[in-house]
């Protein structure tokens, strides 16, 4: 306690100093500028030009493509995006001599996939041990070895099922969270399609009341699969919208309620508190069965920090790795899985409505090595 108090004091002291300095600076600044420099923005109405204002034609309610064939596509796409990693590694490993420089290159290749320093070194150490012990020299066994090690890092034993079934007589509640621009709304829409395709009834909650037109975006997705979408006014309390969505789900006897939340940087304490509130309020209706963190495959080492903070606030239960159709490798999820023990459950593979697939570690690693 005494030690902690010391830190509180230091912290407050520092802060007070900052505030004073900022205040003094502002004063001086205000003096420099004189009293009347505050800019007044003329309220001239912006002219909105939109010749043919038509409602966006909602696609007809479509029957989404069944989920079965998706893994094949995942495999082919991963092959495209990640083959560099697998092949680069293999090329390195089947050299005659495994000298220090070779290992450096292996390390760099792994680092280039955003795997992170920790997992990279772990993988490297394991590989070194095994090549040494087993005297690997041919491509096939090197490949087998690498596959085994990569797989161990990805950990296929994790339970990656999506908790969308409940034993009780209530809908399963899924909360979708993440930082800005990772694809939360898109993922929610795609997930709704998957669930509808599996014959479930889905209610969507547009708890992103902050971003302009986010609710509309979700409505478009909902309209495409005929799912009910609960929205609130822009700027409404997201917790209230989420609450309403779950209530609507319960009343309609829906199987699953998907709640899309606003993107928020994990560093914004206020927004993170708001997210915690959304979850707590929803839990007054029904327990939240699944909290999915949407991570962008292009995200670098900051992804781990994001996952940690979100996990602290809303206890994430699964990860969705989006935009895996690009050149990014999404290696950060390995670190995230390892640190938090939260499995990657789904992958997003593009902007197409059906570009969402379950994450399969075997397929993932095979694709890496193809």
């Amino acid at each position: 306690m005494s030690n902690l108090l010391e830190y509180v004091l230091i912290g407050v002291g520092i802060l007070a100093a900052i505030v004073v300095v900022v205040g003094l600076a502002r004063r001086a600044k205000a003096r420099e500028l004189g009293p009347s420099t505050r800019e007044v923005i003329s309220p001239s109405a912006p002219s909105t030009v939109r010749p043919d204002q038509v409602e966006p034609p909602l696609d007809q309610v479509q029957a989404p493509e069944p989920t079965a064939g998706r893994l094949e596509r995942l495999r082919s796409r991963l092959a495209r995006s990640n083959s560099a990693l697998g092949q680069g590694l293999l090329a390195l490993l089947v050299r005659d001599r495994l000298d220090a420089q070779t290992w450096d290159e292996v390390e760099e290749t792994l680092l280039a996939s955003d795997l992170g320093v920790g997992p990279t070194q772990e993988l490297l150490a394991a590989l070194k041990r095994r090549t040494m012990a087993e005297g690997v020299s041919d491509a096939a066994s090197a490949r087998a070895l690498l596959r085994a090690e990569l797989l161990a890092l990805v950990d296929p034993t994790m339970d990656r099922r999506l908790a969308t079934h409940t034993d009780e007589n209530r809908p399963a509640v899924v909360l979708v969270v993440g930082v800005n621009g990772t694809g939360k709304t898109t993922t929610t829409g795609k997930l709704a399609r998957v669930l509808v395709a599996d014959g479930r009834t889905v209610v969507l909650g547009a708890a992103d009341t902050f971003r302009a037109a986010a609710a509309l975006q979700l409505q478009t997705w909902g309209g495409r699969v005929g799912a009910q979408v609960i929205t609130g006014a822009e700027g409404a309390d997201p917790a209230a919208v989420a609450f309403d969505a779950v209530r609507a789900g319960v009343e309609a006897g829906a199987d699953v309620v998907l709640i899309d939340t606003a993107g928020r940087l994990h560093t914004k304490t206020g927004l993170m508190d708001e997210l915690g509130k959304v979850k707590r309020v929803v839990e007054k209706q029904a327990p939240v069965d699944e909290v999915l963190l949407v991570l962008d495959a292009t995200t670098g080492q900051n992804g781990l920090r994001q996952a940690q903070v979100f996990s602290e606030v809303v206890q994430i239960t699964g990860i969705v790795l989006t935009k895996l159709d690009g050149t990014a490798k999404g290696g950060i999820v390995v670190a995230v899985q390892r640190e938090l023990g939260v499995p990657v459950k789904l992958v997003g593979l593009g902007e197409g409505a059906d570009d969402l697939a379950p994450f399969d570690p075997e397929a993932f690693v095979d694709a890496l090595l193809d």
Binding site: I10, K323, A328
Partner: protein, 578 residues
Amino acid sequence: MGSNGLGVAGVHHRRSSPGYPWDCVVPGAREAVATWRFALAPFVTGCSLFTSLSDRLAATFKNLRGKGRLTEADVDATVREIRTALLEADVALPVVREFTARVRERALGAEVSKALNPAQQIVKIVHEELVGILGGQTRRLRLAKNPPTVILLAGLQGAGKTTLAGKLAQHLREAGHQPLLVAADLQRPNAVDQLMVIAERAGVAIHAPEPGNGVGDPVAVARGGVEFAKAKQYDVVIVDTAGRLAIDSELMDQLRQVRDAVQPDETLLVVDAMIGQDAVQTAVAFDESVGIDGVVLSKLDGDARGGAALSVVTVTGKPILFASVGEKMSDLETFHPDRMASRILDMGDVLSLIESAERAFDSEQTARMAGKVASGDDFTLEDFLEQMMGLKKMGSLTKILGMLPGMGEMKAQIENFDDNELDRVAAIIRSMTPAERADHSILNGSRRARIARGAGVEVSAVNQLVDRFVEAQKMMRQMRAGGGMPGMPGMPGMGGGKRAKAKQKAAVKSGKGAKRSGNPAKRSIEPPQGQPQSQPQPQSQTPSGLPDLSALSGRDSAALQAQLGELPAEFKGLLDGR
């Protein structure tokens, strides 16, 4: 504010001398830094100028003392650490390689400086190199001679193009232009609606002839937008395009067509600050296929180290024009190379700390605090509470302390700090009466017992809190009596412009300070005038004859006075007043 264009808050001036991370920025930043270092000196022995990287380098250099020149082996070990640091900051591998090679070369030839230890010296080289690359070609937005100026925004999905379009439009409108937004993102569902809402928030016009959601031709929309702007005399056209992957040849082709149709004066690549190793591939692909003129870093308000900035600038050779730092339309800043460099190296981001403090406190609060110091008023437990709540608003204490340079050694200790501790301390203070908050010395046994009951803690916790205040106060007195700045060798020129101003202000008011040396170095040697050298403020006792409260008051006002030049007359006023 309007005149300096992109000012974030009133306090930001921009100087651009590269050097120490805080050299260039907020007036007041230097003072703040100095103040903290002053306040923290007792806690941090051997303050180092840089944290993370330098801590690591320090270990490498343990046995290096006494050497006149860095050996090749020393440098190699160092370069390895730098490499890891850069990789952890998401700088792309090829860029890291190139960069470390250059640093290695410079470090090998460098004399070991007397002022800096070898670790600091290398970090300084790294920092300079970083600033050199990041800021080598900083420039402003280029406007066309014959309006309209066309700005084309491109980037991956979710990079922040649509939001940036709005911010840019608002910025230009405030600079006296007539921007027009063109909604050429017809891909993402309701991107057009989003841009319309954004246009309204930014108070600018929008050209959105197509509803989007996959309907319409972006090339035609973009072309139409420019024609519309010409007809209606808009002088800047900002074309928002759909996010696309660099490897999607079809969409990249479409982007090329859009570019050809509108002939942009600026093609800006919007890059998410959180992006990892993929940054290079993306930047190169966009540059090769459409040719970018500049880069905008988005989401810099997060805590990503932002190595992508270095990657993108290095591989494309294009400057970073703006940094996008929040969700409000006004959250757009010009890019600061030196701050970015410090951030990539994780060198205690003092400026971010200042900024988050600014966000946590409104101007009224800061003005009141400043007023208190200026007038020499006491810092009460009430103020302490306010500060603490602000601290809580800013995020975890661990993070905040971690942002300070020289806190590396404390990091491990504060790692396990439970932020709920703040709530407990707040509960104790809130259980006090206003009189008690104003003067802790009236806290006798029964009052303390009552407070403990009210706060739901043991009496010992209340005692500890009070004891800490008293201790800290003593410490501050000693420090002030010493008059110096312990543990601060090598702090270059402490006299910032702002501080000088504050001093003059004090001087004018007091009519005494004017005699004081304008040279901060000299001043620190001179005994402070108008202020008792040994025990300052024995008068800072309340009429009841009891010592004035505590730690915080001591810590802040003393440190600030020491830094700002004392405010003698005000103090007298205060003391008489009491």
